[in-house]
C-alpha cells in the first residue's frame, strides 16, 4: 500500500511540486533579485535577435525557388528563444513576399518551408532535419562549420564575440538554391 502511494506520488509529483516549489523559489528569487539585480534584462536574448537580422539578410540575398507568391515561410527548429526573437521578422518583406515564422519540431513536414533555421542542437537532430529537407529546396541555416559538413547551406559562426557566417554553395546548388555574389563575398568561408 505504501509502495503504491509513493508511486502515485511520484507520478503526481510534477504537479504537486510545481506549486509548492514555485512558491519557495519565488521567495528566494525575490530576495536575490533585490540584492543582485540583473542589469541587462532589457537587452536579453539579443543574440537571437541579431541572428534573426542575419537570417533576414540571408533571405534577401538568396535565390530560392518560389513556393508561394505571397509569403515566405521561415521555419525554426524548436528553441523558443530563437523563435521569439525571429518574431521581429514576421512583418518584414523580401521583395513582394512577407515573411512568416513557424516553430517546428523534429519529424514535422518541412516541405512547405522556404528556409529552416536550426539553432544549436545535437548532431543527430541536425542530421535528421537536414535529411528531411532533401529534394524540397529548403534553405538550411545553422550554427558552426560542422553544420556545413553535415549538408547544411549557411552556418553562423561566432568569432571574437561577433557573428560571422560561412556558406556551402555546393550543398545549396543541389537543391536549386543560389546565393548572391554579395553574400558569397561577405562569407568567411565558402566551398567555391
Amino acid at each position: 500500500m505504501r509502495t503504491a502511494l509513493i508511486m502515485l506520488f511520484a507520478y503526481a509529483s510534477c504537479k504537486i511540486q510545481r506549486a509548492r516549489v514555485l512558491g519557495a523559489v519565488q521567495i528566494i528569487f525575490t530576495f536575490l533579485a533585490l540584492t543582485l539585480p540583473c542589469t541587462t534584462h532589457a537587452q536579453q536574448n539579443s543574440e537571437y535577435t541579431i541572428k534573426s537580422a542575419f537570417i533576414l539578410n540571408f533571405l534577401k540575398f538568396t535565390e530560392l525557388p518560389i513556393k508561394n507568391q505571397d509569403s515566405l515561410l521561415l521555419c525554426i527548429y524548436e528553441k523558443s528563444d530563437a523563435v521569439n526573437a525571429a518574431k521581429i521578422l514576421s512583418e518584414k518583406r523580401v521583395g513582394q513576399r512577407s515573411i512568416s515564422v513557424k516553430s517546428i519540431t523534429k519529424g514535422e513536414d518541412v516541405k512547405s518551408c522556404d528556409a529552416i533555421y536550426i539553432p544549436f542542437s545535437e548532431i543527430q537532430v541536425i542530421q535528421s532535419i537536414l535529411n528531411s529537407t532533401i529534394g524540397h529546396s529548403v534553405l538550411t541555416i545553422g550554427e558552426d562549420l560542422d553544420f556545413l559538413s553535415n549538408g547544411g547551406m549557411i552556418a553562423m559562426i561566432s568569432q571574437d564575440n561577433k557573428i560571422k557566417f560561412a556558406i556551402s554553395g555546393k550543398n545549396a546548388q543541389s537543391e536549386k538554391i543560389s546565393f548572391s555574389a554579395k553574400l558569397m563575398a561577405l562569407a568567411v568561408s565558402t566551398d567555391r
Binding site: C14, Q17, R18, T40, T105, I163
Partner: protein
Amino acid sequence: MKISKLAAGRVLKPLLGLTLAASCAYADVTSGGDITDMSLEDLMEVKVTSVSKRGETASEVSSALFVLTHEDIRRSGSNTIPELLRLVPGLHVAQIDSNRWAITARGSNSLFANKLLVLIDGRSVYTPLFSGVYWDAQDTRLEDIERIEVIRGPGASVWGANAVNGVINIITKNANDTLGGAVTVGAGNEDRALANVRYGAKISDTSAARIYGKYYNRDRSAQIAGVDAYDQMESGQTGARFDYKEGRDTASVHGDIYKGTDGLRALTPSLASFSPSLEQKQTHFDGNNIVAHWSREFSDGQQLTVQGYFDRTQRYDLIHGERYEIADFDAQYLLPLSAYNQLIFGLNYRNTRDFLPKTGSIEFLKSSKVSELYSGFVQNETKLFDNAVRITLGSKFETNSYSGFEYQPTARVAWVPSDTHTLWTGFSRAVRTPSRIQDDGRLLLQTVPTDSGVPASVFAVGSSAVKSEILNAFEIGYRAAPAKNYTFDIATFYNRYDNLSNLAQGAPFVSGNRVEIPYQFANQNELRSYGFEALNTWRPMHSWTLQGWYSWMTSEIDIAEGSLSLGNNGRVDPRNQAFLRSLISLPYNIDFDSYVRYVDSIPDYKIPAYMDLTLRVAWKLSDKIEFAVVGSNLLHRSHKEYVGDAIAVSPAALQRAVLGTVSVKF
C-alpha cells in the same frame, strides 16, 4: 558538443541536457534603431556577449570530463553499460566474471567500489547497502542512450555524497528522437542471445512516447582448475518514456521494470565449519522505478527544474538479501545574475527504506530501517576578462542519517585564452558516507580453530560511530584543439583520503560455546593517490577517427595496525592503462571499428597485465537494416581481469567472444 549541466560542473540533473543558460546576453547595439535595417556588413561588426547559449561546451569545462556520444556507443560493439565504459579514458573497468564488474575512476577498485556515483536519467543507482553498484541490474536499450557523461574526480559539490572519485551520468534520448520502431537481435558464443525492441510515436504536437523491451542471456565463463564458474546471467527489462514540451515547459515521465537471474558460486563461511565451503546459488534480482521531471524556462534565462523519482530494487543471493525503496525529490533553480555571473542552487530530499533479512552470513541490528537525507547546494559561476577566466565556487551541504552534517565545497578556475585552449584547475572536498553495512551490519568472515579447541568466528561488525571517508582533491588539466582534426586533453590529480574505512580488531568474547572475534568498521586508514589521464583524438580523414588514451596512477596507503586487509593492501588498481580505438567508415556503408586496450597488473590479486582487442564490422544494407559482427577478448582464449575481492567469488576467466547482430528499423 553540447553537454548537460552536470558536466559543466553545474546542476540541472541532466535528463534533457537543457540549453538553459539563455542569460543576460546582450548585444552592443547602440543605435537604438531597428536591427533588421542594418546591413550585413554592419551586423557582422555587432558585438555579442555570451554568444552561445547552449549547455557549456565540453572543451570549456573545468573538470576531467569525457562524453561518450551516441555514435561512440553505436560503434563500440558493446551490449552492456560496463562494456561501454571501457572506452572512457582512465576508468578501470574490470570484468570479474560474466555478470560481475569492478569499475572505478582514479583507484580503489573493487566489486563493491564505493566512490563512484552512477546516475541513469537523474536517478542514482548505487545501493546504500555498500555504496556500490550492481552492474548486472543497470541496463537500458543502449541504442536509446543519448550520451554518457563521465567526470573523473569529485563532483560532490553538485551531486552530493559518493561523487568522490567520479560521476557517471547516463542520459537516454528524448522520446521525440526515438520515433518509429527498431528491433535488434543477436546471438553468439558468450552473449548467447540478445534481443531488444523499441517503438516510439508522436502523441500530439507537443508530446511523444516510446516503449521498449530487451532480453539478454550470457554464457558462463571458462573453468579455472576444473571448477565451473557458474556465473551465467539472464535478464529482461521493459520500460517507457513520455516527453512533453510546450513553450517554456518541458516535462517527462519514464520508468523501467526489470528482472534477472545470475549464477553465484563462492566460498561461503559457516559457523559450523572451519573451512568455508564452495557453494552455488542463483541470484534473483528485480526492480522498478519511475522518474518524473519538469522544467520551466522563464524570461531572461532563469530556469526551474523539479524532479521526483521512486526506485524499488531487490536482490537475493548466496550471501545476502536486500530490498530497497527510495523516494527522491529534487528542485533546482538557475539564476543568471548578469552577463558574467550566474547562480545555481537546489534542494534535495531522499527517503530510503530497506529490508535486510538475516542470512547465514549476514545480519543487521535493525532488519529494516528508514533513513533520510536532506541536502542543498549553491554554486556561482563568474566569467571575467571577456570570458577568458571562469571561476566556479560552490558547495553542497547535507544531513544524513549515518554521519550527520557534511559539507562538500569546490573551487574551480578555468583560463580560456581562445576557443582552442583551456587550462583549468580545481580543489574539492568530497565525502563517501557510511553504508548500511558499516553502520549496523554483522558479516561472518571465517571460523577458525583456537588453541583450546573452541571454534572462533571472525565477524566484520558495523558501528554507529563510523564516519564518512573524506577526499581532498587537487586537479589540473589542459585541453587543446591545435588543429581542426586533432584534440588533446590531459587531466592530473592528487587525491588525499582521510578517515578511510578499515576493519579494526576488537576484543574477542565468548558467546555460547564459541569465541567471537569482532573486526569493527572504523576510519583509521589514509590514502594518497596521484596520476594523470591523457586523451588524443585525431581524424586523419573524414572517414577515419583515431582515439587513444593513456593513464597512469599510483597510490600510497597507510593501513592502521591490526586492520583486517582481506587481501587488499592498497595495490588493487592498474598503474598503467592504454587504449587505442580506430573508427573507419568504408565505402558501401561498411564500418570497420576496433579497439585495443592494455591493462597493467593488479599486484594484490596477482592478476597479470593483459592486452586485448575488440573488432566490429558492420554493414548497413539500407537505412533500415544493419548487420554487425563483433569479436571481443580476441587476443586470448581466456583471461582474468579482477577478483570478487570482498566475497570469495569462484575464479573465472573471460573467453574470446563472437557475436552477430541484425538491426531493423520500421
